[in-house]
């Protein structure tokens, strides 16, 4: 995965993150190299863009062409740890683990291997269970960029 001056967007996924019964905001600018061009809550661009990036702080992850990306790749670009027992710096409680849901269905394998498929609604959480959303209405704009 390389950082390029522009990256066509072919689809999007939505990622929600919950830790210890609280929301962890997914910021705009993940997968966009600084200096970032900010516009209010949004990032309009940077020096280069990975084919897996966010431009708004809504959890909308824009996907470029090519093979299916994974949640692990996304967290690596974000700079946050993700594993069976840690999520964005939050450790799993004793006997617990990081849970991933795709379209509301539990993903049983390694959290980092969860696919970010087109129009997937992905919920990642650690701590008390937060009922995951099964669907998300994606903006058509994301697919037209």
């Amino acid at each position: 995965m390389s950082c390029r001056a522009s990256s066509p967007v072919v689809s999007a996924a939505h990622v929600e993150v919950f830790a210890q019964d609280r929301v962890v905001a997914v910021p705009a600018g993940i997968g966009v190299a600084p200096p970032l061009r900010r516009d209010g809550a949004y990032v309009r661009g940077g020096s280069c863009v990975y084919p897996l990036h966010t431009l708004e702080p809504t959890g909308l992850v824009l996907l470029g062409p090519g093979s299916t990306r994974t949640l692990g790749e996304f967290f690596e670009l974000w700079g946050q740890p993700l594993g069976p027992r840690v999520l964005a710096g939050f450790p799993a409680p004793r006997g617990g683990h990081v849970a991933v849901y795709i379209d509301g269905v539990a993903w049983r394998a390694d959290p980092g291997a969860a696919p970010l498929s087109p129009h997937a609604q992905v919920t990642v959480e650690v701590g008390p269970r937060v009922p995951p959303h099964a669907n998300y209405v994606f903006p058509s704009l994301a697919l037209a960029q």
Partner: protein, 233 residues
Amino acid sequence: MTGFAHRRPSSRDARSSIRGGLAFALLALLLLGANASPALADADPASDVLLAQSAFFPYQPPVPPKLEAAMNSALGAAARVWLPLKVAIIGSREDLGAVPEFFGHPQPYANFLDREISFNHPQPLLVVMAAGYGLAAVGPGSALAGVPVDASHGSYGLTRSAILAVLALARAAGHPIATPAIPSSSASSHASFPVALLFGIPAAVLILAGIAIMRGGKPHDPHAPPPVHPPPA
């Protein structure tokens, strides 16, 4: 996954990006942790965007920048002389993410959204949909009786209605604010489209037809094989 960092532009940039992202995430976590209901939070784009700015605009069609500026100007003026109002303009189900069932129900959505974005105190909020207005921690609703929602001009009409609603609410509260310059719909960013539609496309058709006739071929062969595109990179 290993060795990913070296593909970034530079480790210095990467560290800066990580620090920024981490700081933002932790700040947001602290803010959201104060009062949010996890089962409801993060479902809709407006709840995230309104943490960092005062207005959420519809995805499609995009609101012209000058009209966005007028909305922000009105909200800035309201914050200075009255209260820090936030506005969510919802044009379609796309603008509601995981809670599309609120589309067409501005007041229930205002109640829902206000719980997401209020922390130590209620957050004054105005929701605008084609179906009407929703209010939370601001009023009275009767102030908007004379401000019908313009549902016939898409995002432009909704945003213009939102601006007029903010003015009406401020006036009713005894804190009138100046009306910002609201660009006309014809002066929006789409102004160049009719020109292209009226002149550009017919001209292109005439030129292509002329070339086809000169070459003795047909303007379009429905049995021709489809164009072949290179595989994605």
